[in-house]
């Protein structure tokens, strides 16, 4: 059995068969050409397309991430800027209000002082005028009294001198 197998192996397993070679070549080439047109083209195209699509999606995702991060950063910057701005505005407003208050107070004080001085002056003038009027009145009364006394007793001239000197004395003493 073994010997026959070996002889057959040597005899026909490796024996060339040009017809089979011919048919194999023809069949393979035809299959190759048809499959290339029918199958490999569309399949490989689809695979490449998908590969590109996936790559593009990944790229897009990365880009979107970068963009959103940039926007976030920008937003943060804007927020910080706005914060600073509002702080500044509030501070300025406070300063302005403070200044305004100080100005107004000062002005009011000045005004008040002016009014007080004016009032004091007027009071002084009124007082002085009242004193003058009183003095004249007193002098007239005195003169009228003396006149009556002198008319009755001495001459008027003599008496008046005495009264005047007396009044002078009074005024100097008072002052």
């Amino acid at each position: 059995m073994l010997t026959s197998g070996i002889i057959l192996l040597a005899g026909s397993l490796l024996s060339p068969n040009p017809g089979l070679i011919f048919w194999t070549a023809i069949t393979f080439v035809i299959v190759l050409l048809i499959l290339k047109k029918v199958a490999w083209g569309p399949i490989l195209n689809a695979l490449e397309e998908r590969e590109k699509g996936i790559q593009a999606s990944i790229d897009r995702a990365h880009k979107a991430k970068d963009e959103s991060e940039a926007i976030l950063r920008k937003n943060k910057e804007l927020f910080a800027k706005a914060d600073a701005e509002s702080d500044r505005i509030i501070r300025e407003g406070k300063d302005y209000a403070e200044k305004l208050r100080a100005d107004l107070t000062e002005k009011a004080q000045v005004e008040a002082k002016k009014i007080i001085t004016a009032a004091k002056e007027e009071i002084e003038q009124e007082k002085r005028r009242a004193l003058d009027v009183l003095r004249n009145e007193v002098a007239d009364l005195a003169v009228k009294g003396a006149e009556k006394i002198i008319k009755t007793t001495l001459d008027a001239e003599m008496q008046k001198k005495i009264v005047d000197s007396m009044i002078q004395d009074l005024s100097t003493k008072r002052n």
Partner: protein
């Protein structure tokens, strides 16, 4: 669940205890009868072997013939492996293939392996025209399903892991060839494993033709990549001129050993697997024992059969892989130099 696990070995033991004496007695009866009429034994043996395992049923049927004489077993095995002019569907009869008169001294009559090649081609064309049609309607937004998805896994594997990683730049040009060769060999290998099938890739003429294609593809790719001058320079392997007298013949021989290795590897692997399966089946016929059939031949044949399924994929992959590798070796040499030069310019 646990009770089932406990019971199972016991049940198996019972089955074996019943089966072994039964087989022994049947053994004696049948082979006693076989002395008188070989016809009866042939049919009953075929029937029993056929029920035991369906896949190598055809082989078993053939094997029945071997009970007539031990020296016939080798003949029957070779009868299965070798090419012939008839398609035999053993219990039902056989179809004689037409003889075509020789053209230019070449006998191009159609044989069993030619028919298998055509069956493979038809299967390939049907499967891939369906898949290709699906891909034509496929936008990148939706995923392939079913057959298209299964084939895509293989195509993508050949594209990336075989072609792209071995050939590198410009691998797209060679993809149709590599894909066709892979699926052609794969389908040939697998068709040899079904009953009534024959392994066309177990014929040295077929593998020789395929590797000659690889040889031509490799040489053309080398010429295209390097030009005639670069190709000749490649033959000297970059050594000193005084060594050329040794290097050039070695390189030229090397060009031919590559396809030769491809041829023998595929042919020997496919043939060997079938011889092992048939031999294991024949052990039971030679020893005339059903115990051997149940205990040795069928389990081991099933094991080898499963191994053959793996080998069918493996050898298709190896052939494609090595083809891609040879193309890559033939084209990449100068290409890598160019890359270095470009790098230096930049």
């Amino acid at each position: 669940m646990k009770r089932v696990n406990v019971i199972q070995p016991k049940a198996l033991l019972k089955v074996i205890a019943i089966l072994v004496p039964l087989l022994l007695s049947v053994n004696g009866l049948v082979f006693a009868a076989s002395g008188q009429s070989s016809d009866v034994s042939k049919n009953s043996a075929a029937a029993v072997a056929g029920t035991a395992v369906s896949a190598p049923a055809a082989e078993a049927a053939h094997g029945a013939e071997a009970t007539e004489g031990e020296e016939k077993a080798g003949d029957v095995i070779m009868h299965h492996i070798l090419d012939k002019n008839v398609l035999s569907f053993e219990p039902f009869g056989e179809i004689s293939l037409p003889k075509i008169p020789p053209i230019a001294g070449i006998d191009i009559s159609i044989t069993k392996h030619v028919v298998m090649l055509w069956v493979v081609s038809a299967l390939l064309l049907i499967v891939f025209s369906v898949v290709g049609g699906k891909y034509k309607n496929l936008t990148p937004r939706n995923a392939p399903k079913g057959l298209a998805n299964a084939m895509e896994a293989l195509v993508e594997f050949i594209r990336l892991d075989v072609a792209k990683s071995n050939i590198g730049h410009g691998y797209e040009k060679h993809l149709p060839y590599l894909l066709t060769v892979f699926f052609f060999i794969l389908f040939c290998n697998l068709l040899g494993l079904i009953p009534y099938g024959a392994t066309a890739t177990g014929n040295v003429n077929v593998t020789l033709t395929l590797s000659v294609f690889t040889f031509f593809v490799t040489q053309i790719a080398a010429f295209k990549a390097h030009g005639v001058k670069g190709y000749l320079k490649h033959l000297t392997a970059g050594t000193h001129w005084s060594l050329w007298i040794i290097m050039v013949p070695i390189e030229i021989i090397g060009q031919f050993t590559k396809p030769f290795a491809l041829t023998v590897r595929l042919f020997a692997n496919m043939t060997a697997g079938h011889i092992i399966i048939l031999s294991l089946i024949f052990i039971s016929f030679i020893l005339k024992s059903y115990i051997v059939a149940v205990a040795v031949s069928v389990p081991f044949a099933i094991f080898i059969y499963l191994l053959e399924l793996f080998v069918a994929f493996l050898q298709a992959f190896v052939f494609t892989m090595l083809s891609a590798l040879f193309i890559g070796l033939a084209t990449a040499h100068e290409g890598s130099d160019e890359h270095v030069a470009e790098g230096a310019h930049h």
